[in-house]
């Protein structure tokens, strides 16, 4: 029998907006835009209106050397993007594909319910897809 994950006793409970999430929201790391990069990818979550764009610089071995992102969204999606952008630096694209919602929640330090998890997952989806595009089409994307 497959089971849906049972809800945590309290998702998004008190302290959801703890210091470090607010800090990453209000002062996102690696935020901005470059002239050039190995690959750039943008996605929109039409349901909530969040839109983020990631730029990655990847070396010959497939390791992410540097990353920038920009866009707009709620605190959870911006903070996730900011935390993720730090996290993936130095990781290979293969390692990045292994990141999942547990990894994102670990970065945030909180457990999210399904609705807010979508906000948190947008940046990871974009980064993973950026890697796939790079692997398929090489520098500059398709």
């Amino acid at each position: 029998m497959t089971k849906l994950e049972a809800p945590e006793k309290s998702f998004a409970g008190e302290g959801m907006y703890r210091e470090h999430i607010l800090d990453h929201y209000q002062h996102p790391r690696n935020f901005g835009e470059w002239k050039t990069c190995s690959v750039q990818h943008t996605e929109l979550n039409p349901v909530c209106g969040d839109q983020l764009s990631f730029q990655l610089n990847v070396d010959e071995k497939g390791k992410v050397m540097d990353v920038h992102f920009n866009g707009q969204g709620c605190a959870i999606s911006i903070a996730s993007a900011s935390l993720l952008s730090d996290e993936i630096k130095g990781k290979t694209m293969v390692q990045i594909q292994k990141l999942d919602k547990n990894g994102i929640q670990a970065l945030l330090g909180i457990t999210l319910g399904p609705a807010r998890l979508k906000c948190a997952m947008l940046s990871l989806d974009i980064v993973k897809n950026a890697c796939l595009i790079y692997q398929k089409y090489g520098k500059g994307g398709k």
Binding site: T2, P7, P46, A115
Partner: protein
């Protein structure tokens, strides 16, 4: 054997509050399970608890109730997928019932049917698996063809199936179990023929899912429809299962609510499966009730449910068959599900139903939503007893005794038939 099976569900009546109801001074004997089943307490409690603790609209809400309602509703899809061995919950579309599932499917497939094409159903269809295809065929100027009933055996006659399902056939839609004859239809055999000519195969499983183990993949069909209220669950919900690869390529036929991705004034794009086919606020409490019904059935074990009903129908068939002036329609017990349709001369089925009602026994009388089949059998009405998990041999004994008594009340006089 008989005793073992009877005993395995001997205390189950206690789980159904309605079964302790009295009709006049008699205990209720509910033998209309093909029309709808009664509900175990666990189903009623699950829905009640949903409304008392978690009620909210699903999918979008950020607050606690909405998260809980969403999880419960999605879990209902997952449980349904597991129950019929679907590949994933993306293949499970909640509808309003079997009729709604089949109508939706007919609309989803309508653009793939053109003039001169053929749609195949059988002669034993419930109206819900006949009229949607009949109207589609008429609208598209396609032909509607029928797999015939072999009246002698009560089974579908597959001997000329290659003449019926041909290269022109686009859709084959057949019942898994007949709600009149109880006949169990060999889906896989028909599906293989249909797939050979490139047709899609839809199964009306309203009468099978509640009564036997089903596995949509080993049946080799493409679409599969059933109702919550016939499987010990609530009214207001049904299921359309479809193969993901097919659903992916079909367009939604109902619009609004959670089924969209992007909406503009002049156009829209659709959400992922299964939500793309679920427009509007869905039957949320009903999904919770269906979950509980599936839990209930899985706790009993579908193999055991089938064994119980198989034994009961054999017992009832043999006892009815021994009556005088009785006609039983459909196949031998071993080829049928827990449904027996009959006429007990000289009692008109309506009068029989009324007389049985006086003893607390609920059976159905009429055409059972299969008028063309009644015409084919050359009867204007018939009586039907249909069994569920809570029925017993003692109830069958009472049924048979009461039929006898009805026959004796009516015998002796001239019947007003010209």
């Amino acid at each position: 054997m008989t005793h073992v099976q009877q005993n395995s569900f001997s205390s189950i009546q206690k789980e159904f509050p309605i079964l302790s109801r009295k009709i006049g001074k008699h205990s209720l004997v509910y033998l209309d399970n093909a029309a709808t089943t009664q509900k175990p307490l666990t189903v009623l409690k699950a829905m009640d608890a949903y409304y008392r603790l978690h009620n909210a609209n699903v999918h979008r809400g950020i607050y606690r109730l909405a998260e809980e309602a969403t999880l419960a509703y999605e879990l209902a899809h997952q449980k349904t997928a597991d129950f019929i061995h679907a590949q994933s919950m993306r293949e499970i579309i909640f509808t309003r019932g079997t009729t709604d599932s089949l109508n939706m499917l007919a609309r989803m497939l309508s653009s793939s049917v053109e003039k001169g094409d053929e749609i195949v159903v059988s002669q034993i269809e419930h109206h819900s698996n006949l009229i949607p295809w009949q109207q589609l065929a008429n609208a598209q100027k396609a032909a509607l063809k029928f797999i015939p009933l072999d009246k002698k055996s009560g089974m579908l006659d597959l001997s000329r199936i290659d003449k019926i399902i041909t290269s022109k056939t686009k859709i084959v839609s057949i019942p898994h179990v007949s709600n009149v004859l109880g006949t169990i239809v060999p889906i896989k055999e028909i599906a293989r023929r249909a797939h050979k000519v490139g047709a899609v195969v839809s199964v009306d499983a309203a009468q099978s899912v509640p009564h036997m183990p089903v596995n949509v993949r080993s049946l080799e069909c493409d679409f599969f429809s059933f109702s919550g209220h016939k499987m010990y669950g609530p009214t207001g919900i049904g299921v359309l299962w479809g193969k993901e690869s097919l659903l992916n390529h079909l367009e939604p036929v109902s619009f609004g609510g959670e089924m969209v991705r992007e909406v503009y004034y002049d156009r829209a794009t659709w959400n992922d499966l299964p939500w793309k086919f679920e427009a509007g606020t869905p039957p949320i409490a009903e999904g919770v009730g269906l979950s509980a019904a599936i839990d209930f059935l899985q706790k009993q074990g579908m193999e055991k449910v089938r064994a119980h009903e198989k034994e009961l129908v054999k017992y009832a068939y043999d006892k009815l068959f021994a009556l005088k002036n009785i006609s039983i329609y459909g196949p031998e017990p071993k080829f049928r599900s827990g449904v027996i349709t009959f006429n007990a001369t000289p009692v008109h089925p309506h009068d029989l139903a009324s007389l049985l009602n006086e003893k607390g026994i609920a059976i159905r009388a009429g055409h059972h939503c299969a008028m063309p089949l009644a015409t084919l059998l050359n009867i204007s009405a018939s009586a039907r007893a249909s069994f569920g998990i809570y029925n017993t041999q003692q109830e069958v004994d009472l049924l048979v005794e009461s039929i006898k008594k009805a026959q004796s009340i009516f015998s002796g006089g001239k019947r007003a038939v010209v």
